[in-house]
């Protein structure tokens, strides 16, 4: 092949969970991956213009990323997921992602795979099918998948390890906060990063719901909510259950008008006791000032409560 073949990866939605899997997979198959830049204002504005008004912010951001890859690759990769684990579901936006993009940007060449574990359509078979569609032989496809999953696993394990060691290396004086939110929010340059950075600047030790053992988290989520079915929300609940006694406060990062989060946040406010929780609802008009004020007050209150508790102990 004289010309290098390029696959475009939008740096949004599931990219933040699976980028190691995907880049390894495509590169093993001999395709160069081109990734969109971290979210910026222009990308967000384009996404807002392309999306249906009532779409959630992550979907708007996603469309901006997809469009930005036009002309920079031979096809943009937009996977479609309905269920990753039997008896569980993912958010309907992942079900619609491929068709939304296809109908919003009809001229853009796309490649996709479908995962619906509930109906026996598993990731491996779907990715091997995509590999063949991209012209790879079965042996090459299987090897690419094996290497990709191994790389992704190693990446995930490392993320957990880093957070666990941060937990152990605790500075007893520092306020520690668990930031809970979907990976595509927390890892996003415009959505989650300003929050994580700002908390850091306040001297807070930050743990995230993203760097956890996911299967363990999903198990633990049942203690908080027995009937919730969204895989990613189970992970968030599990993170809360895992860390609730190790943190001084929890910050929920919710993008407007997230369906699953609208209900999960409510349940958490009612069922989680013993640790203060603040819910931040972000829309695309978010000014940083308001956010900072709320975070600053939250941290101040935690510090104040701590001081009061310490003084009480000192007197006793």
């Amino acid at each position: 092949m004289a010309e290098e073949r390029r696959i475009g990866l939008p740096r949004s939605l599931l990219y933040h969970k699976f980028h190691t899997l995907w880049t390894t997979f495509f590169e093993e198959l001999g395709w160069r991956t081109v990734t969109s830049p971290p979210t910026n204002r222009q990308l967000l504005e384009r996404g807002v213009a392309l999306a249906v008004d009532e779409s959630c912010v992550p979907m708007k951001v996603f469309l901006g990323h997809v469009e930005s890859l036009r002309g920079r690759c031979d096809a943009v990769f937009v996977p479609r997921v309905e269920s990753l684990i039997e008896s569980e579901h993912v958010c309907v936006k992942f079900m619609g992602a491929y068709d939304i993009v296809r109908n919003t940007l009809p001229d853009l060449p796309l490649v996709t795979y479908d995962v619906d574990a509930e109906r026996g359509v598993h990731e491996r078979a779907s990715m091997l099918k995509l590999a063949r569609e991209l012209g790879a032989g079965p042996l090459k496809a299987r090897r690419a998948y094996a290497r990709a999953t191994a790389a992704q696993r190693a990446h995930d394990v490392e993320m957990v390890r880093l957070q666990e060691s941060a937990l152990e290396a605790r500075d007893p004086e520092a306020v520690r906060i668990l930031v809970v939110g979907h990976s595509y929010s927390l890892a996003d340059e415009l959505i989650g990063k300003p929050i994580l950075d700002y908390l850091g600047s306040l001297g807070v030790e930050v743990l995230t719901s993203d760097a956890i053992d996911k299967p363990k988290a999903r198990e633990l989520s049942r203690r908080i909510s027995p009937t919730i079915k969204w895989t990613y929300n189970k992970e968030l609940l599990g993170a809360i259950e895992l860390y609730r006694e190790h943190v001084d406060g929890i910050v929920f990062v919710v993008t407007f008008p997230c369906g699953p989060d609208s209900l999960m946040a409510e349940l958490c406010q009612r069922r989680i006791e013993g640790v203060p929780i603040v819910t931040l609802v972000l829309d695309e008009l978010q000014g940083e000032a308001g956010l900072r004020t709320r975070l600053e007050s939250f941290v101040d209150i935690i510090r104040a409560k701590r001081t009061i508790a310490e003084r009480a102990r000192a007197h006793a």
């Binding site: 249906v52 479908d114 009937t227 079915k229 409510e266």
Partner: protein, 349 residues
């Protein structure tokens, strides 16, 4: 939800339980419900809470909730938590897991433990037929009320029909009342043109089936001389819910080149019906949904493209706790005027 309180009451009574019917919806219902609901949860949740609050003021032991392929499946647990925190006590029977008729009947039994399956099945059969009768009557009215010569005739007949239907307890009884009502309705004098404006209404199930939630949009359309078609009904939903994936595959087929994978809940169906009706020569569609309903937002990406590329009129309406009637009235009026003008232009061309 619509007039479905009637078959549900019958089912409860035939199982030996006492149905407590929520009072007719008012703004108060919605406001009270919204007040205790998460801010941007979809509006059917808020209506449910309003209904629960208004009935829990009385003596209620059991609340039944169902589920669907979207947030609806998670309503039960959260509503239960909110109501209990408010101090209410009741048992929640959550039908969201029921995937087959036997499991549905088994779950229903929790409403009246100890009742024989024979009674449940009989009650279910009668209630089912009652629901179908209501749907048949409403379908006829939807298509023809806009053309009745004497305004109010059909509404009076429907009121009488519901009164007659309420006490029926046998399949034969239901069939008789249904036949009488449809006969009477068919005899109502109409001034209906040979080719009236035909508009389909699609979207999310709750706002489709509860006229209060959609500001009476179907009636408003009809009153502009439109034959209104709507497809989603309670019985159609129960049938597709229990029928496994068959319904989804059928909808994907009907949606043609526009949808590759199921969009979730009623999303695929919204596109499928629109595409089918457009190809059958319908004059336009109205798409209705609660604010933020994600499967329908996904469908909208597709519908907007169909509308654009085929110059097919689609009116998009979104409902939440703040919707005022006037906005809907004006938009429906403008939409129908536009359809009328298009029709005349095509006729003269």
């Amino acid at each position: 939800m619509g007039e479905y309180w009637l078959p549900f009451s019958t089912l409860a009574e035939m199982m030996g339980a006492v149905p407590v019917v929520a009072p007719k919806m008012t703004r108060h219902t919605l406001e009270a419900g919204a007040h205790v609901s998460p801010e941007f949860v979809c509006v059917p949740f808020k209506y449910n809470m309003g209904n629960f609050l208004e009935t829990l003021e009385g003596d209620v032991d059991v609340i039944v909730q169902a589920g669907g392929g979207c947030r609806f499946g998670y309503y039960g647990e959260v509503q239960d938590a909110i109501l209990r925190d408010m101090g209410h006590s009741f048992e929640l029977v959550n039908l969201f897991e029921a995937r087959s008729l036997p499991t549905l009947l088994r779950d229903l039994r929790r409403v009246q433990p100890g009742v024989s399956y024979a009674r449940i099945v009989r009650g279910f059969a009668v209630a089912w037929r009652q629901a179908q009768a209501i749907e048949a009557v409403e379908d006829f009215v939807r298509k023809n009320v806009g053309f009745e010569r004497e305004r109010g005739t059909m509404d009076r007949l429907v009121a009488a029909f519901l009164r007659e239907l309420r006490p029926t307890r046998t399949l034969r009884g239901v069939a008789r009342v249904r036949a009488e009502a449809l006969g009477a309705l068919a005899a109502v004098p109409l001034d209906k043109p040979e080719h009236p404006l035909r508009v389909g209404v699609v979207g999310e199930l709750y706002v489709l089936m509860e006229p209060f939630a959609n500001c009476g949009v179907e009636r408003k359309l009809a009153e502009h001389g439109v034959e209104v078609h709507r497809f989603i009904t309670l019985t159609s939903l129960v049938r597709s819910g229990l029928g496994g994936r068959k319904h989804v595959r059928h909808a994907l087929d009907k949606a043609g080149p526009w949808v590759t994978y199921h969009l979730g809940a009623d999303g695929t169906e919204s596109v499928a019906n629109t595409w089918e009706l457009m190809n059958s020569g319908f004059d336009g569609m109205v798409h209705i949904k609660p604010f933020g309903c994600m499967p329908e937002v996904s469908a909208m990406s597709v519908l907007q493209r169909i509308s654009r590329e085929h110059t097919f009129p689609i009116l998009f309406l979104s409902f939440d706790a703040q919707t005022a009637q006037a906005g809907v009235t004006t938009r429906v009026e403008a939409f129908c005027d536009m359809l009328e003008m298009r029709k005349r232009r095509h006729a003269s061309a």
